[in-house]
Subunit: 130 residues, 2 copies
Amino acid sequence: MTFDASCLKYDGAGLIPAIIQDTDTNIVLMMAYMNKEALEKTLATGETWFWSRSRQKLWHKGETSGNVQKVQEITYDCDRDTLLVKVKQTGAACHEGYYTCFHYRINPETGQTEVIGEQQFNPEEVYGPK
Amino acid sequence: MTFDASCLKYDGAGLIPAIIQDTDTNIVLMMAYMNKEALEKTLATGETWFWSRSRQKLWHKGETSGNVQKVQEITYDCDRDTLLVKVKQTGAACHEGYYTCFHYRINPETGQTEVIGEQQFNPEEVYGPK
């Protein structure tokens, strides 16, 4: 029996935010948006699919970079309007070459933003020149 | 010097999603929305403030329940449109009495939703009868 994805709450554009967390390290890797079809493809394939708001199309994470995410667990919250997806991450999650997309830290003392973590790949080598 | 919260990307309603993660256990506790003012109050007070979309007002997490969140670190992602806030959680985060709001697990074998975790308080005792 398959999960009825229509029991969740989608926003006016038919989207639900999905937080992606590394199942081994518990690092939060990224947040992206799924529509009902993306969630169904994620459940069916065991890898993450999203709806790209900028490109207006379904997007299989890792389709260009090879950095796919193998789904280990999907939970949703008490309001049924956010997903938390635990994954095994291949390579690095961020298109800027960092392991996590959350690599800009606000320093509350200085008011400045600091980059944390190490770049693991050169985006131009993976995605081509901008 | 204070952080310039206007450098982030807010949606059409002036909101940015904020993922809240427990700094000790790395459990993702909840997701809620901040506007610029809520983020500034969070930075100034060291406790989380959000914009309640249902009540259309600023909301200090824990103001009713006492389950406040002490901010340890704030990062944002490569698109500058999502915040990740690491906190020390007092009590339990979810208004349903669970430690995390993400306590509904999709079982991909059965298609059913299973509740995970233990209820830590009775919501009616904290918030009053529904």
